[in-house]
């Protein structure tokens, strides 16, 4: 299945896009999408292990399965405030 991945901050800058599409076998975990994302955007490699994942606006682990129709995002450590 195709999953749209939203990117933020330096991850977006490195990828050159705020959203990329990756293909993974269903059912896919967050880890599957992370691997597909890094294959698709090799420039994200320096941030790879530091990227947090969110599924439907909640932090998610690499083992979490992504429900169909979810919004998926990857982003580097936060620095708001």
């Amino acid at each position: 299945m195709t999953i749209k991945v939203r990117l933020f901050a330096r991850a977006r800058d490195l990828a050159g896009a705020d959203c990329v599409e990756v293909c993974v076998d269903a059912p896919a975990t967050v880890g599957d999408v992370r691997k597909a994302l890094l294959d698709h955007c090799p420039k994200l490699a320096p941030l790879g292990p530091h990227l947090f994942a969110a599924v439907n606006s909640s932090y998610a682990d690499d083992l979490d399965v992504i429900p169909v129709g979810s919004e998926v995002a990857f982003f580097p450590p936060v620095s708001g405030g």
Partner: protein, 150 residues
């Protein structure tokens, strides 16, 4: 009440939102754009946010503060976009019956917000470079402008 905005933060309104006859103490925290960080000079900042998740995460922090302390009211406003020196990036206001509770709840809210809410700061240094601040990534200097020109 939690909110993201691209406009200047009216911290008077944020504070009035938590005042109550039930509260004897109000604590307001303001984060403001500081000129010097470890000897480097900032000329401005840019804040990016994952809006829907940032709002949701701030709402969860409000709920958690109300669970831990006898909070009367919470108001949090975070600004996004371009900020000049001295501008307010965040206002957190909390009211409680007593002051110790209000200080603890206020400090909890800003500490957790900085740890968990998906918002990112980009430094615009006086030397013309820019740098996303991503603690722990080991990229001490990550000039996006240089990157983009390669």
């Amino acid at each position: 009440m939690v909110r993201l905005t691209h406009d200047e933060i009216d911290y008077h309104a944020v504070t009035e939102a938590v005042r109550s006859h039930a509260a004897g103490a109000v604590v307001l925290f303001l984060g403001t754009v500081r000129e010097l960080t470890a000897g480097r000079q900032t000329v401005s900042l840019n804040y990016d946010g994952y809006g829907v998740m940032a709002t949701r995460t701030m709402q969860q922090l409000e709920v958690e503060a109300c669970r831990r302390w006898p909070v009367v009211a919470v108001a949090i406003v975070h600004r996004l976009g371009h900020l000049a020196l001295g501008d307010i990036s965040i206002a957190v206001a909390v009211s409680c019956p007593h002051r110790k509770q209000a200080f603890e709840a206020g400090q909890f809210l800003i500490d957790e917000l900085k740890r968990t809410v998906p918002i990112w700061k980009q430094e615009h240094w006086a030397d013309g470079s820019t740098e996303w601040v991503h603690p722990g990534t080991g990229e001490v200097v990550a000039p996006a402008t240089v990157e983009a020109s390669r």
